[in-house]
Symmetry: C2
Subunit: 364 residues, 2 copies
């Protein structure tokens, strides 16, 4: 459900195929010292994210940061992690500075295994690099006939209601649940009014920021539309924007994500330990432990179809459910290619040249 | 964190003590045929909710509805429920039309028991009456050194983003986590811009509704301040208000609550089966299965204290965390009494007279 203003303008688009992107991204990770299995996992997260149209968390914004962090030694390419505590339904993992999009798929697999045994599995992870779009991990569970839930605590960009400075990250929450004929439900949202990456994307695309999205440097919510040039001039507001519009709820959801990921992993929130990396919570609910799987999918189908076909409000085209436009985008992009900004292709060109691998092929 | 405009005006206040309210409410439930244990559980939920200052869900709005439903035979006073499916970490309960504030404490106790055994416990409940303020059940877990999480699916008052009519309930989400010196974190929020009961409360108090809280009957978001006289003239907006302000996130959180409570209980959402009662999800995370309990509480203390003592934005008095004002209110009301609207006292008078029990004593 990305806003029109954040899409890559047609004139700047270069199309690449799923296969080409997957191949090049895998090769980049391998060249940086990541094992073949881990590189394939990481490339899967990024490629699927771009296929779903979640451009803020695909290769355009994130891959260059990952490459930079591997080269700077801030990320360790060797396979590894350590389970520091475990019970039949739970585990806590020290990611030992591995990239989140590599640790994430493994952590959710472990949560799924536990859910198969005791009905529900929860795995928390600390000390890791960036996790990308966490909806991807929730979807892993949905593909195994489970409900998947993820929380992230990371960063220091969101100003709590009434506060003067940022004290929490954008702390996203994601949930995915399988349906049968309908697209799976896939909800993945920052608990801030706007995802952090959207500000960087707005700068690249020259789009303005809307009222209720950010504060000035003193914590005052900005309530008029503004073009944005410098990321550092603004802090982010929680979902809701102002107290009267419910920002205390967005703030509460951010704190919920912080407690269920960071504190429940035995780690410190960024406000107490800056630079501590990303903390995550992966939960899998085995649907068959709760109810009949086919009945669950029937109900999901009926509910999602009812939403999708509901009469829209005056002036609106249609009603969406979370995951619908992602599934439509996935189908379209698999058929026609993934649109990347020409500037991103330029970066790929430099990166593959430096690493000595074949350039990313575009669809001419 | 109730807005000033929703508090009972001083001139209309009558103060009652915790003990008196607990006693009278217990007696009312017993007179309606509820067992002594169940009546005590229900009175505990309501009294604690009023002590925490969550007046929208205390005796003022809800008790008369409960009494009416017992008398109309819509609620069954006999003890009972049925576990329809169970695994080491999960259970699903058919509440057999018992009141939610009676089933809730039992369901969370079961989740806590399971979390003691396998690290995490999740119990879903369907076919029950109203659940009151679900933060109370999350707090049960916090008092047992666990993190408590609750989701509710109930009602049909919230208009999904772009839709013309209400299709979801206000579907609240609650989380509670223990600290040591600081008040426990207690977050309990409707996923709508405003709690349903706040509209009724606004009518009683003659307060206006703010922009971004409601739609008109066609689903158009109302974007100016409005006095409200008739609950039926408006539908509710999801948290965020409009799409540009993030209403798709509030809508997504409502759907998350619906899937994790209703669909994961094998039940149908209200949009498919009106009148199906309340559906709930109770989760308990055993902190010791994840990390050292004392370290968890230390981190909570440091995090919550950092928020509480953070410099406020210009013009703001202080920064709150979820649960702080509830804990302050609890202390104040335990010492000085619970302020009820004189009109509520009048209802108590009629109710106790009709049931033949002693009137609710007020603090003169």
């Amino acid at each position: 459900m990305i806003l029109e203003r954040f899409k890559v303008p047609q004139k700047d688009q270069v199309l690449v195929s799923e296969g080409a992107l997957r191949r090049t991204v895998t090769q980049i990770f391998e060249k940086l010292g990541v094992s073949a299995d881990d590189a394939a996992d990481a490339a899967d997260v990024l490629t699927m994210t771009d296929l779903r149209g979640v451009e803020t968390h695909g290769v355009s914004n994130m891959l260059r940061a990952y490459v930079r962090d591997y080269r700077a030694g801030k990320l360790d390419p060797r396979p590894g992690w350590r389970i520091v505590r475990e019970s039949p339904g739970t585990a806590v993992i020290d990611a030992e500075r591995r990239l989140g999009i590599i640790v994430g798929p493994k952590a959710m697999r472990l949560a799924i295994d536990k859910a198969r045994t005791v009905g529900v599995g929860v795995v928390t992870v600390y000390n890791s690099g960036h996790f990308g779009a966490i909806g991807h991990f929730a979807m892993q569970a949905a593909q195994q006939n489970m409900v998947g839930v993820c929380f992230t605590g990371a960063g220091l960009s969101v100003v709590p209601t009434f506060a003067a400075k940022p004290m929490l990250g954008t702390n996203p929450i994601a949930v995915a649940a399988p349906a049968r004929r309908e697209a799976p439900m896939l909800f993945d949202a920052a608990t801030s009014a706007i995802a952090g990456n959207k500000i960087r994307l707005a700068i690249r695309l020259g789009s303005p920021l809307l009222p209720g999205w950010v504060t000035d440097k003193e914590g005052n919510p900005i309530t008029e539309e503004k073009p944005v040039f410098d990321r550092d001039e603004y802090h982010q507001l929680p979902l809701g924007g102002t107290r009267e519009q419910g920002s205390h709820k967005g703030y509460g959801f951010a704190l919920m994500a912080e407690v269920l990921s960071t504190v429940l992993a035995g780690a410190l929130p960024t406000m107490l330990a800056p630079g501590g990396g990303s903390k995550n919570h992966f939960a899998a609910y085995n649907i068959e432990a709760f109810t009949d799987l086919e009945q669950f999918k029937d109900t999901m189908d009926r509910m999602l179809e009812t939403l999708r076909t509901a009469p829209p409000a005056p002036g609106q085209e249609r009603v969406l459910y979370p995951g619908l436009s992602e599934a439509e985008e996935l189908q379209k992009r698999r058929a026609k290619g993934i649109p990347l900004h020409k500037e991103v292709l330029q970066w790929f060109g430099e990166c593959t040249r430096e690493l000595g691998i074949a350039p990313l092929a575009s669809i001419s």
